[in-house]
């Protein structure tokens, strides 16, 4: 399994995401919920950014705004200098920033290869035959040719997740938005997925916005880890991860890794405690 993705990648230098003073308030019948208070962050082209934070702090909300699913209340989001979201405007979702969902969203009614070919076909970027050929080629490259004709629900969740990443990558997006993609996996498949995602990332250098609860995962994969404050979300701390690339899951035992891990745990712990205390107050 040498090079995973030799498909012509977009020119390097695209996929910059700017988040400037992003704020989001949900107005529901139960009252207003401030999900994001003030989020400002520049994500460089080709950067792997991980976001960690307490459950319910507003991470998915932020991703939905970048993806174009949900409008922001204030602030601005730009992709390569073009505004894609601000108060009163929301660019429609598109294949330039494909989402891989928290619980997986492969279409159960399409075979693996049809799932992967879906994007290029509906965008009319390729003919059906071309798209299927490209999808088969991708599967071949990652050693999944056997399951091309299988239906997703017949496969393990690890394989499903790998297929879902291919379905995103075949569109040659500027950025990949991943919302806790490995949450439901056991430790062994998770480690295999890390290795595969690292390889995909290091060979394509797509910008990656990666939400997770798993601190080890965040450090192992990312260039920077952002800790979000508990709801309403804002950037609490940014941690630079200088571990060399290419990375491997073996690095989790290294001195540097453990130092980073200790730092990150300290910051996250503070927020987790706050979230817990607030939870107690809300319940009282």
């Amino acid at each position: 399994m040498a090079v995973l993705l030799e498909a012509p990648a977009r020119n390097a230098g695209t996929g910059a995401i700017s988040l400037r003073g992003v704020r989001k308030v949900y107005d529901s019948s139960a009252g207003a919920v401030e999900a994001i208070a003030d989020w400002t962050l520049e994500i460089a082209p080709g950067e792997f950014l991980a976001v960690v934070g307490p459950s319910g702090c507003g991470k998915t909300t932020l991703l939905n705004a970048i993806a174009g699913f949900d409008p922001v209340t204030a602030g601005e989001i730009a992709l390569d200098g073009t505004t894609i979201a601000c108060a009163g405007y929301l660019a429609p979702p598109g294949a330039d920033r494909v989402v891989v969902f928290q619980n997986g969203a492969l279409f159960p009614w399409k075979s693996v290869v049809d799932n992967i070919a879906y994007g290029p076909i509906v965008q009319r970027r390729m003919s059906r035959e071309q798209a299927l050929r490209a999808a088969h080629a991708l599967l071949e490259r990652v050693g999944l040719a056997d399951v091309a004709r299988a239906f997703p629900l017949k496969l393990s969740s690890g394989v499903q997740r790998r297929v879902e990443m291919l379905r995103a990558l075949i569109n040659d997006p500027k950025a990949l938005l991943l919302d806790e993609p490995f949450r439901a996996l056991d430790a062994i498949s998770k480690s295999a997925m890390h290795e595969e995602l690292l390889r995909l990332y290091e060979s394509t250098k797509k910008t990656i916005f990666f939400i997770t609860h798993d601190l080890d995962e965040a450090i192992l994969l990312a260039d920077r880890v952002v800790v979000s404050a508990t709801r309403p979300a804002r950037v609490k701390r940014v941690l630079h991860i200088d571990l060399p690339r290419p990375r491997s899951p073996l690095m989790t035992a290294s001195r540097e890794f453990l130092d980073l891990r200790a730092q990150l745990t300290g910051v996250v712990h503070e927020e987790a405690e706050k979230a817990l205390r607030r939870g107690e107050r809300e319940l009282a």
Binding site: A67, K110, V122, V159, R167, N171
Partner: protein
Amino acid sequence: MRLEGVLTAVRVSAARGTGLRTKRVGSVRVLRGVAGIVGFLGLWELGVLAHVPILAQIPAPLEVARAQWQLLHQARYYVDWLVSLERVSAGFLIAAVVGVPLGLLMGWRAKFRYLTFPVFEILRPIPPLAWVPLSIVFWPTTESSIVFVIVLGAFFTVVLNTLAGVRAIDQRYIRAAISLGATPPTVFRRIILPGALPSIFTGLTVGMGITWSVLIAAEIIAGKSGLGYMTWEAYVAGAFPIIVAGMFSIGVAGYASSAVVRLVARYAMPWTKPF
């Protein structure tokens, strides 16, 4: 990665293994089914022979078989079959062709749903047979009024199941499709429609069952032919074995038409387990 590859290989071969096993298990299952039917007929015959109170009034299986054999030699019997099948097919197809698109539209467009749903909820509780007098007056021929009542029988179930199927589609699939660049018409055709199919086929299967019960009643009330009319005629003539043979024919017809729906379902939804 290599480990994952091995796991996949194991999984694939395991899947192949179960494929073989299902076939063997399948034939055992068929044998069990046949044994069940034979046992049922045996108990029935014994019950009649032993003069068990209520059973004794009912013709025994052998008598019924003789009546059925007689029927098989009458052209009229085949005509009754054809007439009933025609009525059911016409009614069922009309219900499906009108009901499925209507249900899809109601599920997809909230405004249309708000407009139409209340009308539905008022009309739905009316039993199809309560429409018989009105439809005899309303429709020019008895034939069209029978088909109309059959349509009504299947229609509401088909529409409501389709609607529920659309409403139950996970938002994730729609968002994933849009994120991959799909336009609304594409989302409708490639996500809403296949996503609702399992529920649509549940509606069609249940609807097919209702169709037969409505048909038989309608034929008894208004028909001059068909399996239901034949059974009723046998009752009027006091030919009890023929009554049971008629019932048996209706059972076979109902079973066969459900099997057709299931077959179409399996063909249309290869990703689901056959039910």
